[in-house]
Symmetry: C3
Subunit: 159 residues, 3 copies
Amino acid sequence: MDHKSLNMVIFSGDYDKALAALIMANGAREMDVQVTMFFAFWGLLLIRNPKNLSDADKTMYEKMLAALTPRHAEELPLSRMNMAGIGKSMLLNMMDQNDTPHLIDFLNGAQHKGVKFYACKLSLEIMGFKPEELIEGVTVVEVKDYLQDALAANMQLFI
Amino acid sequence: MDHKSLNMVIFSGDYDKALAALIMANGAREMDVQVTMFFAFWGLLLIRNPKNLSDADKTMYEKMLAALTPRHAEELPLSRMNMAGIGKSMLLNMMDQNDTPHLIDFLNGAQHKGVKFYACKLSLEIMGFKPEELIEGVTVVEVKDYLQDALAANMQLFI
Amino acid sequence: MDHKSLNMVIFSGDYDKALAALIMANGAREMDVQVTMFFAFWGLLLIRNPKNLSDADKTMYEKMLAALTPRHAEELPLSRMNMAGIGKSMLLNMMDQNDTPHLIDFLNGAQHKGVKFYACKLSLEIMGFKPEELIEGVTVVEVKDYLQDALAANMQLFI
């Protein structure tokens, strides 16, 4: 029997939107649904490995962008009420009180459960992020590979 | 004959995005399409009943969040050009000149026409909103219930 | 044999989100996928013709909105890190270094490749934009026409 499938573009680099996406991804895997996440533009900020960031081979603009963006998924701001980080630390406290794992836990969980992580080649090139700066287990693909996968899925979201 | 079906996650708490979602929901019901709206995170701000809000049983953070967020759908800000409310009052004036109903009318219309309103259990817990603070006719469900419904729908949107 | 089909609502008026949408639209057409883009609310800012903008027959609010919004797709701000235009000019420089075309090129490319451009009638009316202010080749349609097309598509996104 065919498995259902869910395809998500993660365009946003906001903590709360990424959390929503990864909670869905984890839930879907527990229901045996095949899940693909295609990280593009700001979404790439979720899958950089802070230990592997390097300025080698980068232009001035690429270095500036690397310096101005969060180095790690947990450092992403909220889409709303971030209030220079106060709103976000409020949210994290409320999540802790509810025993809800943090973004990084859902990210690791998704990988362990077999969610496919794809990074957008064109976005990487424009932003000057190198494939070796990404976390392990991410495949770099073209927009057309994403479209192929998405068109065949039962459900697609742009986040 | 099977009816077509539309499933929307309402993640955003922006007036304009909520308006777009509810205009689609009303239109779809008039075309006899089955419609489910799953309110999560900031989207919960659309379905709180301002008369039922209470600080009972809330932690300090939950009280702060309740105090800092709009109490009612009509109080939501715009996603863009809100300009401390000036842009929004401009939009409302333009809607009035065009005889376009306001958000709350589309929200009531959607409920009357049979749009299913679901609230995300996990989001409620994290944000400290109680089911009894929501408007009537909303069912609290798990992320997996949402996914089940969405995967079976003809069309899914993340708003 | 049936062609696959992709339907996108372009609600956002952000340069980076519009870029993502149009890169997908171009890629999909190259794969012989049928593509419809339905421009609503801020998304209308992508398809105004700066040479045809006029204040004739506009109310005070409609004139104010016309004056406060970008007149042309290339003038749209970023959804994030816009920093009064500094972030955006950084992005454009990085795109140039990578030989990536600009938004307007992807917009023209999409039209030449046969992407269907629809403008939301209700949004036009509320915002006071006239059909004759839009670029050539755009059809004004009702929300229900959009829904009909979207429900029949293989894939739908809200951007």
